[in-house]
């Protein structure tokens, strides 16, 4: 098996092995550390010594030994410090026979995901812990993906695990009445990971983990476990359809290309076909939700042969629907674009005024960028230029700033 093949294989085992350990020993936090140690040992040994016949069993055995060593030294320390009774579960110090702990019949991935995305954790901790415990990534890989020092990321992970331990959360699925709400949090975390990965970083960095790809992998896993859930399917479709445009979204020099000007031949057709099939199928049977509507909008963009052929009336209808299902200013902003494409720029600009009054997006660079675009459509070039310039000042993204500055420059008077 090639080295990357081994790594993918290893990472897929991560939640299974962690699940088996949690069932046997409890203590999610200690088990998670032990699994990382086992993954690390495997990544060193397997490429040279070959993949064992039962990879999951091998990992579980190594992780269990590590966990038990850990407990032995903790116990020794405690004996030195106090005479308090051991807090170990009975039998924990007996090393398991290699076949004693088997991966559970059921998949523990969901249980682990619910734990990693527990609402009591901060979003930053939810993202980091999910990528480690479910994604099987190392702390160093996660840190480099988020462009923070490894120590910072290690702290976020250990804080998340401490808080899971302190709140005494059991290793089981949330009760049925909470399941729906908790699943929304899991999906939101996966979407945040996906968007974190939507960077236009120039220059290939082979060692840097692609977070958008990682989010798609995790969404696929959830979809396999909950194939009937319309929002899970919708999120996976939305990710696939959005990610399909990535090759066309930036020029080789890193400059952003807006949707209308993208070379559609460079879109990833296989991903589009998969995303369209997923969303078409699920819209027929599942209760409607915001991810499905967003995926349906992305599918309409993806299916248009040219920017001019885009079915804007249909997209507008979907934005109406989305605003009812999940009203927020970003939705209104995109709604205004669709409205302008159907009824003309002035109608879109009127809708933007409600956002000025609303206040939540006031001063946001995207509001000004869209206003600039609609003013340009309306041939009010001086005002369009002023809006682009304001947006360029306000964005914190270098590629967006370059894009907005060049839009403004094109409208400079006397040229």
């Amino acid at each position: 098996m090639a080295a990357t093949g081994i790594e993918d294989h290893l990472r897929e085992q991560a939640p299974r092995v962690l699940g088996a350990l949690c069932r046997k020993y409890g203590r999610f936090d200690a088990a998670e550390d032990a699994v990382q140690e086992a993954l690390l040992a495997a990544s060193v040994q397997w490429p040279t010594q070959g993949v064992p016949a039962n990879p999951a069993g091998w990992l579980i055995t190594v992780a269990s030994r590590h966990l038990i060593d850990q407990w032995r030294s903790e116990q020794a320390r405690r004996r030195r410090e106090t005479t308090a009774a051991s807090l170990l579960p009975p039998g924990a110090l007996v090393a398991p026979a290699s076949d004693e702990v088997q991966p559970a019949e059921q998949d523990d991935t969901l249980t682990i995901l619910f734990l990693c995305c527990h609402p009591s954790l901060s979003p930053a901790s939810q993202l980091a812990l999910t990528l480690r415990a479910v994604g099987g990534l190392t702390t160093a890989q996660i840190a480099s993906a988020f462009l923070v020092p490894e120590a910072t990321m290690a702290q976020r992970i250990s804080r998340a695990k401490q808080s899971i331990r302190a709140s005494g959360l059991p290793f089981q699925l949330p009760p049925p009445e909470e399941r729906e709400e908790r699943l929304r949090v899991v999906l939101h975390v996966l979407y945040l990971i996906f968007n974190e990965g939507s960077t236009a970083t120039s220059g290939p960095d082979l060692h840097r983990v692609e977070l958008s790809g990682e989010a798609i992998r995790l969404a696929r896993a959830v979809h396999r476990l909950l194939p009937e859930d319309g929002e899970v399917t919708g999120l996976l479709a939305l990710m696939l359809l959005t990610d399909a445009r990535r090759p066309a979204r930036t020029r080789p020099d890193g400059a952003l290309v807006p949707l209308a000007e993208q070379d559609r031949a460079r879109w990833n057709r296989a991903q589009i076909a998969e995303g369209v099939a997923l969303i078409s199928e699920t819209l027929k049977r599942a209760p409607l939700g915001p991810y499905q509507v967003q995926a349906a909008i992305a599918a309409l963009h993806a299916e248009a042969q040219t920017a001019e052929a885009t079915d804007w009336p249909q997209i507008l209808a979907l934005y109406h629907l989305l605003e009812r299902l999940s009203p927020n200013p970003m939705v209104t902003l995109n709604h205004a674009v669709a409205l302008a494409m159907v009824e003309g720029p002035r109608a879109g600009l009127v809708l933007l005024e409600t956002l000025d009054r609303d206040g939540r997006l006031a001063g946001h660079h995207r509001l000004e960028a869209v206003r600039g675009h609609l003013l340009e459509m309306a041939s009010d070039l001086a005002a369009a230029r002023a809006s682009y310039q304001l947006a360029a000042r306000r964005t914190t993204s270098v590629p967006e700033q370059r894009y907005l500055e060049s839009r403004a420059a094109r409208l400079a008077p006397g040229e």
Partner: protein, 120 residues
């Protein structure tokens, strides 16, 4: 989102403080640094040497001119920075407000540019 918190202060006033006042400032800094480390928000930070150690460099017509001292005389000098990664701009302001120099002088909270690019 990542922010740089720029610390401004005035050395001569710090020098004129009592030992207790100075100890309080160092203690406050330690407390905040520990808290930011534990929360996973701290990315980095450095303190700058005294402003008298500054050299200002200008190149005009290809010729560098190097002078001692800062570019502009000012009572408050840029003395160092903190880098944090936090959920909201409000949180970044809250951290700045607790930094002791903010009580005497000022802290500036500035978002960092990034390479993210979304569909426009």
């Amino acid at each position: 989102v990542k922010y740089m918190l720029l610390i401004y202060n005035n050395r001569s006033i710090i020098e004129a403080m009592s030992d207790e006042e100075r100890a309080k400032i160092f203690g406050d800094v330690d407390t905040i640094m520990q808290e930011l480390t534990a929360s996973g928000e701290l990315i980095g930070g450095e303190a700058l040497a005294d402003v008298t150690q500054t050299r200002t460099v200008r190149v005009r017509d290809g010729v560098p001119a190097v002078t001692d001292g800062p570019f502009a005389e000012s009572k408050e000098q840029f003395a160092g920075y903190l880098m944090v990664d936090c959920e909201t701009p409000e949180r970044a302001v809250e951290i700045a407000a607790r930094w002791p120099d903010a009580r005497y002088w000022a802290m500036e909270v500035r978002p960092l540019m990034n390479q993210d690019g979304t569909d426009m």
